[in-house]
């Protein structure tokens, strides 16, 4: 499924994810962390449905729990002792810090997961291909080669099985010998076809000076509007953080900044930024519905 957000220009997506991921890494304020973690998880689920749910249940949640449990076990700093376990103090602060660190780590990973879902390899290539066009071509060729070789290896293994040389049968020595045989055939086959590939590339002018790149993406007004919103929100969050709105320390005692109106504004902006993909999708969904009802 492609949501509205993922149809934006890769540059805008990059601006968004770079900002959100870096901010999630440095802002340890519990409110901001909670916003980041919940929005990232919600967006991952929205994008990936069942596969994302598996990711959340098998990777994200266990990791969060692991951090929360592990930190108090190894870290005994903190003023508020809750209990003494095996002679070591268990402190409220170290539990809180574990949770915060876990939340930070998991939200960053989940944002990366979303980024990966939203930006196809194509889009990434497009962004970095501008810096090194030959590298970009190399990557497309490798992407092409991997399934190609896979299919050939499969055909060879089958053919060898058909003449009684099953790679999965026999003694260890026999298997190793048969495996080597498959690799040797695959290598000669690949070398053989690389001659063709080189001919095909040369005959279409590969290696001539002044190679250009066909841009598969256009930067539209819509991209500009969304990019400005993202940039303004990121700037506000950065300014707020520098001004101390998100400054927090967990050890030895938990110290949160005062909860006033300016701080509230920074959290609200951060929340808006994190929920932007949803907001855009809802907005465009509404716009579509409206256009249909008017027609």
């Amino acid at each position: 499924m492609r949501d509205a957000f993922s149809t934006l220009h890769p540059g805008v997506l990059m601006l968004y994810f770079a900002g959100v991921i870096v901010a999630s890494m440095f802002i340890m304020h519990p409110v901001c962390l909670a916003i980041s973690l919940l929005s990232a998880t919600a967006y991952a689920l929205y994008l990936g449905r069942r596969r994302a749910l598996r990711f959340v249940l098998t990777a994200a949640v266990p990791m969060l729990v692991l951090f929360a449990v592990l930190n108090p076990v190894v870290n005994h700093a903190g003023d508020t002792v809750l209990a003494t376990v095996l002679g070591a103090p268990l402190t409220l602060e170290s539990i809180a810090y574990g949770l915060a660190a876990g939340g930070m780590f998991v939200s960053v990973i989940t944002w990366f997961y979303c980024c990966n879902r939203v930006m196809a390899s194509d889009a990434v290539l497009y962004l970095f291909g501008g810096i090194a066009p030959s590298l970009a071509l190399l990557v497309t060729m490798v992407v092409r080669l991997v399934p190609h070789l896979g299919a050939r290896a499969h055909a060879i293994i089958r053919a060898q099985r058909g003449v009684g040389c099953d790679v999965g049968e026999g003694t260890v020595v026999e298997r190793a010998r048969r495996g080597l045989k498959v690799i040797s055939i695959l290598t000669s086959w690949a070398l053989e076809s690389s001659v063709d590939a080189a001919d095909s590339m040369r005959s279409r002018g590969y290696g001539l000076p002044g190679r250009t790149r066909c841009a598969a993406y256009r930067f539209t007004v819509r991209d500009g509007v969304v990019a400005s919103i993202i940039a303004i929100a990121e700037a506000l969050v950065l300014a707020g953080s520098l001004a101390g709105a998100t400054a927090v320390s967990y050890l030895p005692a938990i110290a949160l900044p005062a909860a006033g109106a300016p701080e509230g504004f920074v959290y609200a902006v951060w929340g808006l930024l994190c929920l932007l993909p949803f907001a855009l999708d809802c907005w465009e969904g509404l716009a579509w519905a409206r256009s249909m009802s008017r027609a």
Binding site: H148, R158, G162, G164, D166, S200, R211
Partner: protein, 556 residues
């Protein structure tokens, strides 16, 4: 001045005594469609590669090639890349990028065309080829025919004035080949692009060529319009005449020497029919039915076989049932994706059906231990023979199949016997990858025959072979049949099946819908049948190969 002027081109590969091309001279007018024919090894590829300097082989050269009046070496690289397109045989290996879109843009990017213009030209070409539906697909998800169309489109976006194609349909099935030819013909007709095409499927390519170049042993045998080339080849008694369209072959055999005088040689099924009607055959000639081999118990039997590759996917075999007689040569024909190769895999015990039974010699195939199954019972020939080649030379490679336990003299004797059987004694010192397709096929066959199989399973063995190689393969298989080997062959090559098989089956949507002795099988089909049958339909009933039609014409 033509699009291409070849003047006295002689070329010798380094280390070879015999020249690969000898005094080749011809000229291609701009906008012409030229078909180059010749046996494999006749110098077709060598000649075509001289039409593009960046692909020209290294060796000793005399004479030259001129492209629109300029000697080809003097045409600069940028102009050559843009104006001379080259399409190779293997659809896979010349496809360099990951998606269709990237592949189409590749050449234009190399030439430094600005981005917006690339988008326009790619869009234009994708629309012309009708490939916009799979424009964003990845290469690995395309069929061979689709890949080859993309390869052609990727050359056409450069807006070449000449395209050169080296047996582009050799790896394709007949439907995909027809589609490819149609596109090529449209390019020639609607864009006026000059086309030079080397081809084995002359039945289709020859009738609409403007000029045909026949090569034999590196020499030009004939260069003229198709009918004149047919007449010249028939007059010269060249074995290349066997590759000409069926209608022309029948006409030549019947008219004999008078063909030289006759103006109109039929090339298509339609022309062949009207020629046959004009002959006013007296009465209807019955062609006798070939006797069918009979046996008590089938050698291979499939009972209600169901198979799918993955749990969630569709069934590939749906209640497939088949019985193959002991010692017979049984062909399975059918469209792509009908499940033919899958069925072969199931018979070979490489895949196991989830329902139904596969019996080989009366025993369920998966209960036969692998050692016994593949050593002496089943011989499985892969579609690509290269999947079996391990050694540096053919001699070592063939010998590799035998167990080292055998003593050396017996070993050598056995290898010699098999090599003689498949006629590869002269190739023993060569590297397997240096051989032509037909030779590779025979080396792979030799390796399999060393296991002395009683059932031979062949998957598209005639793919990419020229007519004489096909005849040789047929001879070899008939020899095996005489030794009692049962052959099951999956093929798209209807002419080859009609000429050689004892029985044929039509597979459709995972099921065998019809099985019959070869003659009645093809005589009964109206579309899925040979050119000779289509030509003589209603005139000479039950004729399925050209010899049948020729015999009918000679009865007076």
């Amino acid at each position: 001045m033509g699009a291409l002027d070849v003047t006295g081109l002689t070329f010798t590969y380094p280390g070879c005594e015999e020249p690969a091309l000898l005094d080749v001279r011809f000229s291609v007018a701009s906008g012409d469609f030229v078909v180059v024919c010749g046996r494999s090894g006749s110098g077709k590829s060598t000649l075509l590669r001289h039409m593009k300097a960046s692909l020209a082989p290294h060796g000793e050269r005399a004479g030259g090639v001129a492209f629109f009046g300029t000697p080809i070496e003097e045409v600069d690289d940028r102009r050559q890349a843009a104006e001379i397109g080259f399409v190779l045989q293997d659809p896979d290996s010349q496809f360099v990028c990951d998606t269709v879109a990237h592949e189409l843009a590749f050449g234009l990017e190399n030439l430094g065309v600005p981005g917006p213009q690339i988008r326009l030209r790619v869009a234009e070409m994708a629309s012309f080829f009708g490939i916009q539906d799979w424009f964003d697909e990845e290469a690995s998800s395309l069929s061979g025919g689709q890949k080859q169309l993309v390869n052609l489109a990727a050359v056409m976006v450069l807006q070449p004035r000449l395209i050169v194609l080296d047996e582009p349909t050799a790896q394709l099935d007949p439907m995909a080949a027809t589609e490819f030819f149609d596109t090529l013909r449209r390019i020639n007709r609607e864009l006026g692009t000059t086309v030079v095409l080397s081809e084995q499927r002359l039945e289709e390519a020859l009738p609409w060529a403007d000029r045909v170049l026949a090569l034999e042993g590196g020499r030009v045998l004939a260069y003229d319009e198709p009918r004149a080339v047919c007449r010249a080849l028939a007059a010269a008694g060249s074995d290349m005449f066997q590759a000409m369209p069926t209608a022309a072959r029948v006409c030549a055999a019947v008219e004999g020497a008078s063909l030289r005088a006759s103006e109109h040689v039929p090339l298509t099924v339609r022309d062949g029919r009207s020629w046959l009607v004009q002959r006013q055959l007296h009465g209807i000639v019955e062609v006798p039915e070939a006797p069918r081999r009979s046996s008590e118990r089938p050698m291979v039997e499939l009972r209600e076989v169901w198979f799918r590759y993955e749990k969630g996917r569709d069934d590939v075999l749906r209640g497939c049932a088949l019985a193959v007689d002991r010692g017979s040569w049984h062909c399975i024909v059918g469209a792509n994706g009908a499940g033919k190769s899958t069925m072969l895999g199931v018979v070979a015990g490489l895949d196991r059906p989830y329902r139904g039974k596969v019996l080989v010699n009366g025993r369920p195939v998966h209960k036969i231990p692998a050692r016994e199954r593949y050593k002496g019972l089943l011989g499985v020939m892969p579609q690509n023979p290269q999947a079996l080649f391990v050694e540096r030379t053919v001699g070592l490679d063939v010998g590799e199949m035998l167990s080292p336990a055998l003593d050396t003299t017996a070993h050598a004797a056995e290898v010699r016997r098999v090599c003689e059987l498949v006629e590869i004694e002269h190739l023993l010192d060569k590297h397997p990858f240096d051989l032509s397709g037909g030779e590779q096929q025979r080396v792979a066959l030799a390796k399999i025959l060393l296991q002395a199989p009683r059932v031979l399973l062949l998957d598209e063995p005639t793919k990419g072979l020229d007519a004489p190689f096909k005849r040789k393969l047929a001879q070899i298989i008939h020899r095996l049949q005489d030794d009692g080997v049962t052959i099951i062959m999956v093929s798209h090559d209807i002419e080859f099946c009609a000429r050689n098989a004892d029985a044929c089956s039509l597979m459709f949507a995972g099921e065998i819908v019809h099985t019959a002795p070869t003659r009645s099988f093809f005589a009964g089909n109206s579309f899925y049948t040979t050119a000779a049958n289509r030509m003589a339909r209603g005139i000479v009933p039950a004729a399925i190969i050209d010899e049948d039609v020729i015999r009918a014409c000679q009865i007076r």
